[in-house]
């Protein structure tokens, strides 16, 4: 009889103790994307959860017109970070007088457990798109040469060795033909 009483008490306790919805989190700090005029660039937003869940992504604000992101994602359990790729594209016809700092907000919504009161959890992240005017400049000849030399030194040995062998063969050829001519 006592055992039954204990069992019933445990059951009542379990029913009364409210269960905690698993924590839904994000990496701190805003998402900043530098985008050249007429170009695109990417950044990511890290979100995670204790359990595997499906999350809906949405956006608001001026930045919404220029960003692309997955609308539904599935998070893996154990707080494994899911990096949501956010691509920003700025058309070449974008009027810079509209501002070079386009702001917006991106959301990740996790639906709660169905019940009398369903508690949803949402993460909010500020987005800043910084539009940069691409500058095409002509370098002075000295800088061009330096750039070329840097490019050469950056060549991998795989390419350098055949080039060197070819050079030696050519030198030998020139030397041989010069000698033949003299004879």
């Amino acid at each position: 009889m006592n055992k039954i009483k204990i069992f019933i008490t445990i059951l009542i306790c379990l029913a009364v103790i409210p269960s905690l919805v698993s924590a839904f989190g994000q990496i701190a700090g805003p998402v900043v994307i530098h985008v050249p005029l007429g170009g695109s660039n990417q950044s990511s937003w890290g979100i995670f959860n204790g359990e595997s869940i499906t999350v809906n992504i949405s956006a608001e604000g001026d930045a919404m017109k220029y960003i692309f992101y997955p609308e539904v994602i599935t998070l893996e359990p154990n707080n494994k970070i899911y990096w949501v790729n956010i691509t920003a594209k700025i058309p070449s016809g974008y009027n810079l007088t509209q501002g070079t700092n386009i702001t917006g907000v991106i959301y990740a919504l996790a639906g709660g457990k169905p019940g009398q009161v369903q508690i949803n959890l949402q993460l909010k992240k500020n987005i800043f798109i910084l539009v940069e005017q691409e500058q095409v400049t002509t370098l002075p000849i000295e800088q061009e040469i330096r750039k070329f030399m840097t490019g050469l030194s950056a060549l991998e040995p795989v390419y350098v060795i055949p080039v060197a062998v070819l050079g030696i063969i050519i030198l030998f050829g020139i030397f041989y033909f010069t000698k033949m001519k003299r004879r």
Binding site: V21, A28, F48, Q118, I119, Q122
Partner: protein
């Protein structure tokens, strides 16, 4: 010829004895140790979790208050917490979102469909948010009224 034979025999003898000499040489055991450096970068994070709420059974015109604990489970950065809700409905009947009010320390504030700032959700301090439901007078009887409440965190 004899000299060559003699020196070859000498070399062979030396090679044959070498392992024995080496084996008999007392050896000292030097413990192998290797120190490694472990590194980790810890990211700044904030998270949000909330306990379930159930108002149980109520009569029209009555009021009940239930707390929900909103907290960060693992975060290390404070966040800004906001709350919003939707109307109560059972699919047929409904009553307003504002029938539920929320408060932490001050006076109850009617829940709205737009986010309202609750305050700072400190990473190490759980926040108790009280939800107060007043069922409107003459509200139709039903066993299936539900409401959706959303907590939002920014960091």
């Amino acid at each position: 010829m004899k000299k060559i034979l003699a020196s070859s025999a000498g070399i062979i003898l030396l090679l044959a004895l070498a392992p024995v000499v080496i084996a008999q040489t007392p050896t000292t055991t030097v413990p192998l140790q290797k120190q490694i450096t472990a590194e980790v970068d810890v990211l700044g994070t904030c998270d949000v979790g909330a306990t379930d709420v159930d108002f149980g059974t109520m009569t029209p015109g009555s009021t009940s208050t239930q707390p929900t604990t909103v907290s960060q489970e693992n975060g290390n950065t404070d966040g800004s917490l906001s709350i919003k809700g939707a109307d109560w409905t059972d699919g047929t009947h409904s009553f307003g979102v504002g029938s539920t009010a929320w408060y932490t320390t001050g006076l109850p504030i009617a829940l709205s469909t737009s986010f309202a700032s609750v305050g700072t959700l400190a990473y190490a301090t759980p926040l108790s948010v009280n939800l107060q439901l007043t069922v409107p007078p003459h509200q139709a009887a039903s066993t299936g009224y539900t409401q959706t409440i959303t907590f939002e965190v920014t960091c």
